[in-house]
Each structure stands twice: as structure tokens, then as C-alpha cells.
């Protein structure tokens, strides 16, 4: 076919797909049958970026938690993140292409092993990110579902809170709360952050619920006499799972960026605990003299956020392939 013809054909609008099966009411199943879960999984594993992201994330998580251990269980790395010592060779990283050396990420000014510190920071940031992501999802889902289904006060509340967040930036609000809760430990801090990050998800869930409740199977369920909560739990929420999962992954990614930014400003994780953000803030002036102190934590933040975002993108394509390549 001529080049121009193909170009022109390519500009056509996607047609509703001709159905491969027969429409004459034939009780045979000519289509290969796939359950929804299988379809989703298949599409996800075809997304290269998502697989790469998954691999990187798993690697980093395993590295962070197994290297220096956590919560009393010790890891395979021999140094810890608090003990100081003598500074060898100006604290330069000893990592080469094929060996790790004593201090693969170098040392800081007081001789502490930087690898251990970065690992600890990664742990803290990961924990906070996941707790915030999951907690804000739960809060957001409940409020969003109630707002979307029952409307009334829950919806007004959601709208006003959203308006509030248009005026007060998230960072600002979180900073103030972080200042209050900063030294109460990681988990409390994470929950406090969750308390301000649920609005986006709630709005999303509300939108989905609003459109779902007009669908005929919901009307049919109501006509049958199904109670409201049963409808929400059995009919509506299971159909929002895709959207919620995708939103959760993006929430985790933005949580980690939020937490590290707060820690950088001094309103997040407080010493003696470490966050990747606080590490960067501590050593930002050292950039010219001891760049490694600056590079490593930043790269880890970037890597984690990037992989989670790619996983989220893969999940989104898997659940909703409307813009798929094959028409």
C-alpha cells in the first residue's frame, strides 16, 4: 500500500471493534475465555517500564532491610549507622566496579559509615511512604465511597476540604502537622501525613462511585432489596479496585517525595532518626567537597519514586487499556 494511503488510514478514528464471536444467540463460547484478573496480570507483565520498576523497587527494599537489619533483627552489613570512627582517606567511597570495600558509600565528617546511614534512611522513608500510601487510601476510599453513594454531608465535607487544599498547599499543611508530630516516632508521623493526603483519592473514589451507582446492576440490586452497605461493599467497591490500586501506588510515590521534602526543611523526621531527606539537608553544602554525601541519598529517592511511578503506570494500563497500542 502506498505510504500516503497508510498515513491517511492511520488517521482514522478507532471503530467499535467487530466482535469475534457470533451474535446470533449461540450458546457456544467461541472466544477464548479470560477472567478479569488474568487479563490484568497479562497486560501488566507486558509493560516493560513496570517490570523494570518492580525489579528496582524489590532490590532496593531488600537491600535496605536486609543489609543493616531492622527492629532488632540484624543484617549482613557489619557496620551500623550511629557509631562514629576515624575518617579514612577523606571519607571517600571505597566502592569500585567489582568490589565493595569497607565503606562503599564513603564516610561522613565524623567517620560514620555512609552506606549504613543511607540504608537506614531508605528504610525510614520506605516505611513512611507505604504507611502513608495505604492509610490515606483507606481513609480516602471510605470517605469517597460515602460521599459518592450517599452524597449529603459527606460530599459537602469532601468538597470543602478540597477547597481548603486548593488554598493551603499540601506541603505547608503537612509541615505544620509535621512540626507538631515530628518527634513522636515514625508511625505517628506517617499517620499524621496520611491525615492530609487522602483528599485526592477520596475525590477519585467519589467520581467512580457516582458513575457506578447509575449502572443498571446497582439499580437492580436496589430493586431486589439489597441494603446500602451491601451494595457498596459487594457491587460498587469491587468495581473500583483497579482505580484504587493505581491511585495507591501514585500516592506512595508522592508520599515519599513529600516526606523527604519535609525532612529536608526540618519538619519531618527528626534526629536521631534518619531520613533520606534529612541526609540531603545535612550535607547539601558539602556538595563541592564531598559530593558522595549528596549524591547517594538523592539517587535512592529518585530510584524509589521512579520505580513506584512506573509500576503505577503499568497497573493503570493493565486495568484500563483504552489507549492500547492495538486499537
Amino acid at each position: 500500500m502506498s505510504e500516503d494511503r497508510r498515513d491517511s488510514a492511520m488517521q482514522g478514528s478507532p471503530e467499535p471493534l467487530p466482535h469475534a464471536g457470533s451474535e446470533i444467540d449461540d450458546p457456544q463460547f467461541t472466544d477464548k475465555s479470560y477472567s478479569q484478573g488474568q487479563l490484568v496480570r497479562r497486560r501488566f507483565f507486558r509493560h516493560k517500564g513496570a517490570i523494570a520498576g518492580l525489579a528496582v523497587l524489590l532490590f532496593i527494599t531488600l537491600l535496605a532491610f536486609t543489609s543493616i537489619g531492622v527492629g532488632g533483627i540484624s543484617g549482613w552489613w557489619d557496620k551500623d549507622y550511629t557509631s562514629t570512627g576515624t575518617v579514612l582517606n577523606g571519607g571517600q567511597p571505597t566502592m569500585g566496579w567489582f568490589y565493595l570495600g569497607e565503606h562503599p558509600f564513603g564516610q561522613d565528617s565524623t567517620g560514620r559509615d555512609y552506606f549504613a546511614r543511607v540504608m537506614r534512611g531508605t528504610q525510614v522513608s520506605l516505611i513512611i511512604a507505604f504507611v502513608v500510601g495505604i492509610a490515606s487510601t483507606m481513609i480516602g476510599t471510605v470517605i469517597g465511597a460515602v460521599a459518592g453513594y450517599f452524597r449529603g454531608w459527606a460530599e459537602s465535607l469532601l468538597m470543602r476540604v478540597t477547597d481548603l487544599f486548593i488554598i493551603i498547599p499540601l506541603l505547608v499543611f503537612a509541615a505544620v502537622l509535621g512540626r507538631i508530630a515530628g518527634d513522636s516516632g515514625i508511625f505517628v508521623f506517617a499517620l499524621v501525613l496520611a491525615a492530609v493526603t487522602w483528599t485526592g483519592l477520596a475525590r477519585l473514589v467519589r467520581g467512580e462511585v457516582l458513575s457506578l451507582r447509575e449502572r443498571e446492576f446497582v439499580s437492580a440490586a436496589r430493586a431486589i432489596g439489597t441494603g446500602n452497605w451491601r451494595i457498596i461493599l459487594r457491587h460498587i467497591l469491587p468495581n473500583t479496585v483497579g482505580v484504587i490500586i493505581v491511585a495507591t501506588t501514585f500516592a506512595i510515590a508522592s508520599a515519599i517525595l513529600l516526606e523527604t521534602a519535609l525532612s529536608y526543611l526540618g519538619f519531618g523526621v527528626q534526629p536521631p532518626d534518619i531520613s533520606l531527606g534529612s541526609l540531603i539537608s545535612e550535607y547539601q553544602t558539602a556538595f563541592t567537597s564531598r559530593p558522595w554525601l549528596f549524591w547517594f541519598p538523592g539517587i535512592f529517592i529518585l530510584a524509589i519514586a521512579l520505580s513506584v511511578n512506573f509500576i503505577g503506570d503499568g497497573l493503570r494500563d493493565a486495568f484500563d487499556p483504552r489507549q492500547g497500542k492495538d486499537g
Binding site: 500500500m1 502506498s2 500516503d4 494511503r5 498515513d7 491517511s8 488510514a9 492511520m10 488517521q11 482514522g12 478514528s13 478507532p14 471503530e15 467499535p16 471493534l17 467487530p18 466482535h19 469475534a20 464471536g21 457470533s22 451474535e23 446470533i24 444467540d25 449461540d26 450458546p27 463460547f29 472466544d31 477464548k32 475465555s33 477472567s35 478479569q36 449502572r215 443498571e216 446492576f217 439499580s219 437492580a220 440490586a221 436496589r222 430493586a223 431486589i224 432489596g225 439489597t226 441494603g227 451491601r230 459487594r234 457491587h235 469491587p238 468495581n239 487499556p321 492500547g324 492495538d326 486499537g327
Partner: protein
């Protein structure tokens, strides 16, 4: 794959305005290659209407879209397509664009979304004119106004500057047709142009299209799934099934003496008015009726405006074991009544009594108990079942909600119900997305029957199905009703369907009851003007009969003073006339109307 050199093709003059020769189209999809069109040949001559009939998946839409070169990028096309003698499949990009709108124009199915909502009607009409060099600026405006009055839009000078959302569906379709006409194309491809419209509006639009062929000698390729429309419009017919043309010929031949099995099946499946004859009215013994509605009023509240009365004082009843057909066009309130009867929408005033108990005044608990005795079937197979639940769970849902039976007894009941709706028992483990539309509706019906209901409310249960599927589902439904003997409120816009099923008929318009009575009486001998109009507008699949009906309809319209159909060619004002006076005059019968096929 045909390899064609980029030679400038000489226009071939074989008298056709549109022809396909060995057209073959394949798509690459997620599930592999789909062979949509398997080598078909068709031709349309000037002044002729060729109807391309088929159900979903037949490939008819793909065929029509390929004529404009508008197929999506995952399509592989073989074969020759000719428009006005020029070969489409070898055209350059630029030549294709020149052809679109100028030699061939297309009218699509959904008038509500065919026009750009943010651009005025004037912008959209004038751009085609300026693009193909027919008129510019003020001249283009004048021509647009001319076109609008030609297709019957009142007050065109003012309405030209309005936006699409300010017009009704029927009017929007007229505007789309006006746009298609604007550059005097030789052939118009109309893809299901009236499917989304009410039957009375459909009749008007078909009149308009027919006069196009009569007055302007345009060739028309009409894609449709409705045999009635075919009989009303077509000179020649081609029947498509799964990508092949199974039968082709003149309308009279194909519709009255079909040769191919599929065509026969298709024609048999079309419900026909008057086919059932007179039946005994249903007699009910003692006890309350299945459904009794008295003076029902339902209002919708709107911001800053008067509340809108969707249902305005409607009274009807359904006896036990009786099927009552509730007929009306869009906006008549029939769906609202159905939902109200199910307790889904509150009534502003009036009484709705199900099996003797007034649900407008009931508390939740007794209402829930009452719901055990009601079944419901909705319209859209795509959303009538929860996609996350396997079919068996969908059917067992009512039993689950009312806590009836044990796990085993429910399973047995589900199997029994699947037998009743003529589906294999292993469907219970499948998910809705694996079933076809017709199968899903059968599952909906099974669900409705699971608690042996005494009242079943069916809101257009087969409207979204293909004709042949609809026929088998309706047949099954009739058997089930005889078997289970439930009272049924059956809502539909299709009079022929109502004729097949109902014992009693209620005709609605704008929230009020226009006429009601025994089926045979209302449908064979209607008293009210609106009922007559509805009956006359519904096309039948026999060309000669349909022509007679059409002439009857024109007579009737003349009697009641409405003869607004076809192109208003005499009225199309000249450009000088436009300055100052408004368009429109007395309606005159366009000459071509009483002409032959």
C-alpha cells in the same frame, strides 16, 4: 496485500457513484486478527438507495467507513473502492481529503455526539463550504442558512449561531444531514442514521433522506439493522453476515422472497404488528392486583427552575398473570414509572400499590419483604450484571439478600433457572464479560425469576439486542410468563414487540396517559391522534405494504395539519431574500413524494 503504484488514476465512468470490489478488511486486536470483511462487492448508482443490512459484527460499518478512508491504523485493507469513479484505495492523502465531504459525505449514528459541542453550528457548517471552495464568508453564511431551512430547521438565521446542545436529537441529525449536503456530494453514506431516534422522528428523517435521492439524485448507501427501514427506503438490498454478503438484490425480491437462510431467519425474527390477532383478556380472581398505580406524579428538581414533571397523573394497573405493555417515546416517562414501581424513585404524589400494599408509604423493612415478590429486568446488557461476580452469584443474589435457602438449594435453583432460560448449566461459573448480549439478558431474566415473583418489571429488556436475538429472547420470555404466571409491566418503545407480548396496552406521551386498553383494540383501532401517529410511523419489512402505509401517513399528516417532511426546496430563499425577512412559508408537498421506488 495489494501493491499499487501511485499512478494518478483516471476516473472510470461506469455509472456508479460508489462501488466496492473484493473489499477485504482485517484488524489486529489484543485477541489476534479479526477478519471483519471477507471480500465483498457492492455498487451504488446515482438516485438509488442501497441498503446494507446486518447485525452487529457483520462488518457493515467497517465497509462504509472504508469508503472514506477512515479506518483505524490497525486495519489492513485489500480490494478496490471507487467513489464517483475515482479509486479510493490508491488516492493520495490530499486527494482523499478533497473527496471527503465533496464527492462523498457521511451521516453517523449518534446525533448527540456527532457535532462539536464547543463550536457554533455556523462554524461547523461553514468550514466544509470554505474548505471545498464552495463559498466564503458572508456567502457561506447565506448558503448555510439555506441548507438549514432546506432540512426543516425553523428560524435558521437565528439558530445558525447557536450551539449543538441547544438542539434536540432529531434536529441535530438534520443539521448533520445539512452539513453532509453542503457540498453537493454525489453519494451519501448514512450509517444507522435513525437508530438513536424516536420512531416518529425516524420517519421524518427517512422522508428527508428519500427526498434527497428524488430531488438531488444523490446516491445513498444506507447501513441499518432494521428491515422496516430497509423496506421504507431501499431500492436495492445487500445482506451481510460475518463479513460476507449472503444475498443481494432488489428490495422487493430480498424482502418478500428471501433465498439465503440467514435472510430468512432475519426476516422471521422481525416482530410484526398485527401478527397475533385477537386474544382473550386476562381474568383475575379475588385479591389485589399485581400492580396498581393511581394518579402518580413524579417530579425532578432542577436548580433555579420549576421542577420538571416526568410523570403527570398516570393511572394504570397490572392484573396477576397479565402483561401490560407501557409504550412511549423518549421523554414520555415510561422508564420513570417503571422505576417508581420498583421503589427506586420517590413519588411526589399519588399511590403505587404492589400486591395490595402502597409502597409510597411503607417503611424499609416491610418494603424489603415485599421486594421478595418483585423481579426486575433492565435494558443494557453491558451494565445489567455486576462484572465482578460470576453468573451463578448474579442469579443467586436475590436469594442471598433475603436469606432464602441453603447454599446447596440455591445452587440447584440456579441450575434450574439456567435451564429455564435455555442456557447451559456451566455458564454459572463464567463471568458476564464472557457472554454475549443476548445471553446476559437471559441471565438477567433468570435472576428476576429466582424468587418466583408475582410482579415482574421489565424496562426495555430487548431494545439493545440484535433483531434475531431479540426474537428468541422474547419467545422464551413469553413461555416463562405462561409457566410462572407473573404479572408483568413491560416497557418498550417498539409497538411491534408490545403487540407480540402484551394483553393490555398503555400509551404515554410527556408523562400523561394518551390511551389505554386491550392490546388488540388499541393497536388495531386506535382512537387518539398520537397513538395513530405512533402506529403509522413504525415501518414494516414489506416494501409494497410500507409504501401504502407511508402514503396513508402523509394523508394523515395533512389532515392534522403537519406536513413537515422532505426537503423544502421551494422555500429555500435566495440570498437577496435573506436580508430582512424570515424564512419558512406554508408547507408544500415536494413533488417526488408520490413517486415510485
Amino acid at each position: 496485500m495489494t501493491t499499487v503504484e501511485n499512478t494518478t488514476a483516471q476516473p472510470i465512468d461506469d455509472g456508479t457513484v460508489l462501488s466496492f470490489s473484493g473489499l477485504d478488511v482485517k484488524f489486529n486486536t489484543e485477541f489476534g486478527r479479526v477478519h471483519a470483511v471477507k471480500g465483498i462487492s457492492l455498487e451504488v448508482r446515482p438516485g438509488e438507495v442501497l441498503a446494507l443490512v446486518g447485525e452487529s459484527g457483520s462488518g457493515k460499518s467497517v465497509t462504509s467507513t472504508s469508503a472514506l478512508g477512515l479506518l483505524p491504523r490497525n486495519a489492513t485493507i485489500n480490494g478496490a473502492i471507487n467513489v464517483a469513479g475515482n479509486s479510493v484505495d490508491t488516492m493520495t492523502d490530499r486527494a482523499l481529503r478533497k473527496m471527503r465531504g465533496d464527492d462523498v459525505a457521511m451521516v453517523f449514528q449518534e446525533p448527540m455526539t456527532a457535532l462539536n459541542p464547543v463550536l457554533s453550528v455556523r462554524t461547523q457548517m461553514v468550514e466544509a463550504l470554505e474548505l471545498h471552495g464552495k463559498a466564503y464568508g458572508k456567502a457561506a453564511d447565506a448558503r448555510a442558512i439555506e441548507l438549514l431551512s432546506m432540512v426543516g430547521i425553523p428560524d435558521p438565521e437565528k439558530r445558525l449561531y447557536q450551539y449543538p446542545h441547544e438542539f434536540s436529537g432529531g434536529q441535530r441529525q438534520r443539521i448533520v444531514i445539512a452539513m453532509a449536503l453542503s457540498c453537493d456530494p454525489k453519494v451519501i453514506i448514512a450509517d444507522e442514521p435513525t437508530t438513536a431516534l424516536d420512531v416518529t422522528v425516524q420517519a421524518e428523517i427517512l422522508d428527508l433522506l428519500r427526498s434527497l435521492k428524488d430531488e438531488l439524485n444523490t446516491g445513498i448507501l444506507l447501513i441499518t439493522h432494521s428491515m422496516g427501514v430497509v423496506a421504507d427506503m431501499a431500492d436495492r438490498v445487500a445482506v451481510m453476515y460475518k463479513g460476507d454478503i449472503v444475498e443481494q438484490g432488489s428490495a422487493r425480491e430480498v424482502l418478500t422472497q428471501p433465498k439465503h437462510d440467514y435472510t430468512k431467519r432475519l426476516l422471521d425474527a422481525v416482530p410484526r404488528l398485527g401478527s397475533r390477532g385477537e386474544t382473550e383478556p386476562v381474568v383475575q380472581g379475588e385479591g389485589p392486583k399485581a400492580l396498581e398505580v393511581n394518579d402518580l406524579v413524579v417530579e425532578y428538581h432542577r436548580q433555579g427552575k420549576e421542577p420538571f414533571r416526568a410523570v403527570d397523573g398516570v393511572s394504570l394497573s397490572v392484573k396477576r398473570g397479565e402483561i401490560v405493555g407501557l409504550v412511549g417515546e423518549s421523554g414520555s416517562g415510561k422508564s420513570t414509572i417503571a422505576r417508581c414501581a420498583l421503589g427506586l424513585i420517590p413519588a411526589a404524589s399519588g399511590e403505587v400499590a404492589i400486591l395490595g400494599e402502597d409502597i409510597t408509604k411503607m417503611r424499609r423493612k416491610p418494603l424489603k419483604a415485599l421486594r421478595k415478590r418483585i423481579g426486575v429486568v433492565f435494558q443494557d446488557p453491558a451494565s445489567s450484571l455486576n462484572p465482578r461476580l460470576p453468573v451463578g452469584d448474579c442469579i443467586a443474589e436475590p436469594m442471598d439478600v433475603h436469606k432464602i435457602g441453603t447454599s446447596k438449594s440455591r445452587r440447584d435453583k440456579v441450575a434450574e433457572l439456567l435451564d429455564a432460560v435455555e442456557l447451559p448449566r456451566d455458564v454459572a461459573n463464567r463471568y458476564p464479560h464472557e457472554l454475549s448480549g443476548g445471553q446476559r439478558q437471559r441471565v438477567s431474566i433468570a435472576r428476576a425469576l429466582s424468587l418466583d415473583p408475582e410482579l415482574l418489571v421489565a424496562d426495555e429488556p430487548t431494545s439493545a439486542l440484535d433483531v434475531s436475538v431479540q426474537a428468541s429472547v422474547l419467545k422464551m420470555f413469553t413461555h416463562l410468563q405462561e409457566q410462572y404466571n407473573f404479572g408483568c409491566l413491560f416497557v418498550s418503545h417498539d409497538l411491534a414487540v408490545i403487540d407480540m407480548l402484551a394483553d393490555h396496552v398503555v400509551v404515554l406521551k410527556d408523562g400523561k396517559v394518551v390511551e389505554q386498553g386491550a392490546r388488540h383494540q388499541v393497536l388495531a383501532d386506535p382512537q387518539e391522534e398520537y397513538t395513530k401517529r405512533l402506529l403509522m410511523a413504525a415501518p414494516v419489512p414489506d416494501p409494497d405494504e410500507q409504501r401504502a402505509r407511508r402514503l396513508e401517513r402523509y394523508e394523515f399528516m395533512k389532515e392534522i395539519g403537519e406536513e413537515d417532511h422532505g426537503l423544502h426546496l421551494e422555500e429555500a430563499p435566495t440570498r437577496e431574500d435573506l436580508m430582512g425577512r424570515s424564512a419558512g412559508g406554508e408547507g408544500k408537498m415536494p413533488p417526488g413524494v408520490s413517486g415510485g421506488n
